[in-house]
Amino acid sequence: MTLFWKWTIAVFLVLLLAAFLVLCKMAGSPKDAYGMVRYAFPHMHRGTLKVGDDAPDARLVALDGSDHFHIRERTGGRPLVIIFGSYT
């Protein structure tokens, strides 16, 4: 193996280790870093919406589990603040 490839591999491994440490710091622990990469990153999307765009519509289910309504049914009269989130 040439010196070039030894250095290339060494730099790659150092960068990989640095990325892992940054993830651990962000997530809290190595286990959480794994969780972030395995379960969070695939679902995190920046999206393309921007201020001034028409608000997309989507059908939502009411708390009774059977009734439905659309987000756009709630817009028009006054500003609508939408809070997206989950329990956990």
Binding site: G35, A40, I71, I83, S86, Y87
Partner: protein, 142 residues
């Protein structure tokens, strides 16, 4: 967000949209959720999602209007909402504010600022010392 809702509900409408779980037991569970007894597997059916949403409402006596994203995650996909994100839609149906992706860029104070710019600021006394009450992502008192 509940405090902001209470401050501005006479001027704006509020809608909570419950999307797929962020830290379910079968994915990336957080220690804080175990401590707060918020332990749910990722719903695979709409009925499971509805059940968790109702648990949340009952536990926190949550006052804000609530809708549940269908199991095909249509609302989540349309708004790039997961794990949490805030929007303000103006009277013409256009996006007036788009918050950052949670949790790192989820900032209710930006929504408060948007509302305050229109309807005036609502001032509060400084909050008391930290409470030990459980904190859910949707139930943040901010």
């Amino acid at each position: 967000m509940v405090q902001i809702y209470n401050d501005y509900k006479d001027h704006a409408d509020f809608l909570t949209v419950y999307v797929r779980e962020a830290h379910p037991t079968d994915e990336w569970q957080m220690k804080s959720n175990v401590k707060d007894d918020v332990c749910y597997a990722q719903p695979k059916t709409l009925a499971q999602r509805v059940a968790i949403a109702n648990d949340f409402i009952k536990r926190f006596n949550y006052p804000i209007a609530f809708g549940i994203d269908d199991i095909n995650n249509a609302a989540n996909d349309a708004y790039a909402a997961w794990p949490e994100r805030l929007y303000v839609i103006d009277e013409s149906g256009r996006i007036a504010y788009r918050g950052g992706m949670g949790p790192f860029h989820y900032d209710p104070d930006e929504v408060r600022a948007w509302l305050a710019a229109r309807y005036g600021a609502v001032k509060h006394d400084p909050p008391p010392a930290a409470s030990s009450a459980p904190v859910a992502s949707l139930g943040s008192p901010k």
